[in-house]
């Protein structure tokens, strides 16, 4: 295979994996605090439509990003209120959020265009690729890694930062403790509901940002069902990553990689039906996920936070 093709596949792999990785890191933080938010798909698609709409009307991609973060965070806040304050069932609340988000995004996509027209087909501002000086001159890898948009570079920073905070700092210690054993954390003076709110909302913001990357950089513009299930893949990747931000990279690249190859095959005019190729990244992710999780379960303790999905009440008689 020639080098140019490999570089192009790697480039697309990273671009396709970026939005997924934002969402996965966001959900990892949320789940580490003990809150399961199945609303990722809804928050992500709302992030995508609001980012594009805001960027379209203001002409600024940054306004789009800011809007997506606020929208994602706000939707997560609803989930936080329902599950932390009202102790509603986390699965039901998350699913409701996804259904709500998907429906609302579709509706907004019909109305937020110029003069109340649909957004579909509109061309708005987008994140352009920026070549990083020196780094992009590295042969082979430089082009793929360092000739990308700003949000990709943001992801390069986010992953090690999330990992560092989680394992090497006091806030990270508290986050891990709250998800594992909220009673203990509470007895040790950690504000359990406060941290759960914080990380649920922060997770929602990152998911929203992932949505923004889709509509402002990866496939600029708005189409129906733009996320096409990426939110669900993100939730699967959280398990695949065993709630570890560093391992999420592998999962996101895997999904992105199959996506890139599938694109290439379609571009090369293969006879395999497009719908089948479109399905491949998802099928592949699920299969790998199943295999890895099986293997992990045999090898050692599976790393789900022990209190994931369990509401916390202080004066509960156990």
């Amino acid at each position: 295979m020639d080098v140019v093709l490999l570089i192009s596949i790697l480039t697309i792999t990273i671009r396709a994996g970026t939005s997924l990785l934002y969402a996965t890191i966001g959900e990892i933080l949320t789940e580490r605090s003990g809150i399961l938010n199945l609303g990722v798909e809804g928050m992500m698609i709302m992030g995508a439509v609001s980012a594009f709409a805001a960027a379209f009307h203001t002409g600024s991609v940054w306004a789009g990003v800011a809007t997506a973060i606020v929208v994602g965070g706000s939707l997560a806040l609803i989930h936080a209120f329902l599950t932390i304050t009202l102790r509603a069932d986390q699965t039901v609340s998350g699913l409701a959020l996804t259904i709500f988000g998907s429906g609302l995004a579709s509706f907004l996509g019909q109305r937020l265009g110029p003069g109340g027209q649909p957004l579909v087909g509109q061309v708005g501002p987008r994140f352009e690729k920026i070549a990083l000086p020196l780094l992009s001159d590295i042969p082979f890898l430089g082009d793929a890694l360092f000739r990308q948009d700003v949000l990709v570079y943001g992801m390069y920073l986010l992953v090690p930062l999330a990992w560092f905070i989680l394992y090497k700092t006091r806030p990270g210690l508290h986050l891990r403790a709250v998800g594992e054993s909220p009673h203990t954390a509470d007895a040790m003076g950690v504000n359990v509901p406060g941290l759960r709110y914080f990380y649920t909302v922060l997770g929602g913001m990152l998911v929203g940002l992932g949505g923004a990357h889709l509509s402002l950089a990866y496939t600029p513009g708005w189409t129906e069902n733009l996320t096409s299930g990426r939110g669900w893949i993100a939730i699967a990747l959280v398990i695949f990553a065993t709630w570890d931000p560093a391992r999420a990279v592998v999962g996101a690249l895997l999904f992105g990689g199959v996506n890139a190859i599938q694109f290439r095959l379609q571009a090369a005019g293969t006879t395999i039906p497009a719908a089948f190729l479109n399905m491949l990244p998802y099928a592949f992710t699920v299969i790998v996920l199943v295999l890895i999780t099986w293997w992990e379960a045999f090898r050692k303790r599976v790393g789900a936070p022990a209190a994931l999905g369990v509401p916390y009440m202080r004066e509960e008689v156990t």
Binding site: L173, H174, A185
Partner: protein, 532 residues
């Protein structure tokens, strides 16, 4: 130590705490001085833990005041403890009965959890150094970089104590600290407590065990039904007086047990466990070649620290857990890896340790719980239907025979008290095994049958077990209460890490010997084996 000239380190005045339907603390006055070990004695539900949860900030009192006098000061001041963090800032810390440790974090990480220092970066070396220094000072051996899930229960308790010392606690509260320890570990804990008291700390320990009060404490406060009954100097009281204060009437310490008839007539054992191996829930070996026989008219006790395979053994002999090797025989029938129903039909009854989880369906009425092993047969089964009338009359009969206190047979069983829950299970199980096993040769497997029960209910359960023994049942009694085993059992088998360390005759056994075997002292088995 002269404590009269200094105000108490902590004084709780007129504490009231209500839970729905219960007055847990009724104007309790309680004071503890620096340098003393103060026992807080009472039966389950007397309000001990509630009182201490208030002091440690987990609960808020409905009324009452807390005054503290920190070391080096002479004037006490009133404090408002709104959270565990407030309590620890005031130098008050508690070791809970269920440890407050995060299993996936290291010892050092658990110790600094919730602290303001380190502020951001976790510089663990510094923390570990400080932990090592504390463990030297108080002889609390523990590895700061180990993960909690790797530690034994005794080690975890030491981590809990270090956690409090690290935070500079001057008042340490321990909730039933010896419940999970071997007698030797308990002794070691006693020495640690004494060392801390000598350093001027105030130690409060919650217990319902009279022996511990006598051995460990300087003073004792007795609670009963949410009220402070008395505060005494331990040196000027004795077990009998404490028991009377705790229960409110005279208590007999010995259960009258007639001599047993142990496999004398050459009958084969009713329950035989032969070289059984089984896995626990995590897929690790839990039973590693256990062999055991229980004869008609005999109680065989199983002693051991929790988590050494007792639960798995009980599940194996009731058909709830598959056996990977070995055989289980009931009345001579090989029932290895047969479904639970076969065990039930062979006359095996099961008093599980988790009453509401495994023993009863909490939301179903008392009557339905009582017929759970009888509904398949006439007269309760009427073809595919249940005869409601037969269910009720069956339930009424059992309620009377076993003196279950319940308003009616149709209230949800979870509303009954612990003692009546246990009576409900006993009634169902004993009746069922009587129905299925036509002769006297039936099996009763009882796990912690008196855990959490008050003295009256405990007596009733003990009486029932001894009655069953007299009628010829073969009883396997699993308990963490060595006194109970010594009082009831004919023979005691000690389990350690999935093996039986030895079987001793209950009449000649003593607590020290059992304690050593529970801690895995293998040479004891040889000696005892030689003697048997």
């Amino acid at each position: 130590m002269d404590r009269s000239d200094r105000p108490p380190a902590v004084e709780m005045r007129g504490i009231v705490k209500r839970f729905p339907g219960v007055l847990a603390n009724d104007h309790i006055h309680f004071a503890v001085h620096a340098g003393e070990i103060h026992a807080l004695l009472g039966e389950n539900g007397a309000g001990k833990s509630t009182l201490m949860n208030i002091l440690s900030g987990l609960y808020r009192p409905d009324a009452g005041e807390i005054w503290i006098c920190p070391r080096g000061q002479t004037q006490p001041r009133r404090v408002d403890i709104r959270s565990p963090r407030d309590a620890i800032n005031l130098g008050i810390g508690m070791v809970h009965q269920h440890f407050m440790l995060v299993p996936t974090l290291t010892v050092a990480e658990n110790v600094i959890l919730g602290l303001k220092d380190p502020r951001f970066l976790l510089r663990m070396r510094h923390v570990e150094e400080k932990i090592k220094q504390l463990s030297r000072q108080y002889h609390l051996q523990v590895d700061p970089s180990a993960y909690i899930w790797q530690l034994s229960v005794g080690e975890q308790q030491r981590v809990e104590i270090i956690k409090l010392l690290y935070r500079g606690a001057e008042v340490l509260i321990l909730d039933e600290p010896t419940a999970v320890l071997t007698p030797q570990e308990a002794e070691e804990l006693g020495r640690t407590l004494r060392r801390m008291a000598e350093e001027g700390k105030a130690i409060i320990f919650i217990t319902h065990k009279l022996d511990e009060v006598i051995v460990f404490s300087d003073r004792v406060t007795v609670l009963r039904a949410g009220r402070n009954i008395a505060t005494l100097d331990t040196a000027r009281t004795d077990k009998a007086e404490l028991a009377r204060l705790m229960v409110g009437r005279e208590v007999l310490f010995r259960v009258e047990k007639p001599a047993g008839v142990v496999c004398t007539n050459g009958e084969p054992p009713v329950l035989e466990v032969i070289q059984v191996e089984a896995l626990n829930d995590r897929g690790l070996p839990a039973l590693q070649g256990v062999s055991l026989e229980v004869c008609s008219g005999e109680i065989v006790g199983i002693a051991g620290v929790a988590g050494n395979g007792q639960r798995e053994l009980a599940e194996v002999v009731t058909g709830l857990r598959p056996v990977t090797r070995g055989r289980v025989l009931v009345r001579g029938q090989d029932l290895t890896n047969q479904p639970p129903l076969r065990f039930i039909e062979a006359g095996v009854s099961h008093i599980p340790g988790d009453r509401l989880g495994m023993g009863l369906a909490g939301n179903l009425p008392v009557s339905d719980n009582l017929v759970m092993k009888a509904y398949r047969r006439e007269p309760i089964a009427n073809g595919p239907f249940l005869s409601r009338r037969a269910v009720l009359s069956f339930a009424q009969k059992l309620i009377q025979a076993f003196q279950i206190v319940t308003p009616t047979a149709s209230v949800p069983v979870r509303t009954l008290s612990g003692g009546n829950l246990q009576k409900t299970i006993l009634a169902r199980e004993i009746t069922a095994s009587r129905d299925f096993a036509s002769d006297h040769r039936r099996v009763l497997v009882a796990i912690h049958p008196t855990r959490g029960l008050d003295v009256g209910a405990t007596e009733a359960v003990h009486r029932t077990l001894l009655e069953q023994r007299a009628q010829g049942a073969a009883i396997l009694l699993i308990s963490e209460d060595l006194e109970e085993l010594l009082a009831l059992a004919d023979r005691i088998a000690v389990m350690y890490e999935g093996c039986i360390m030895g079987v001793v005759d209950a009449t000649s056994a003593n607590i020290e010997q059992l304690g050593l075997m529970m801690a895995g002292e293998t040479h004891m088995t040889k000696e005892t084996a030689d003697r048997l």
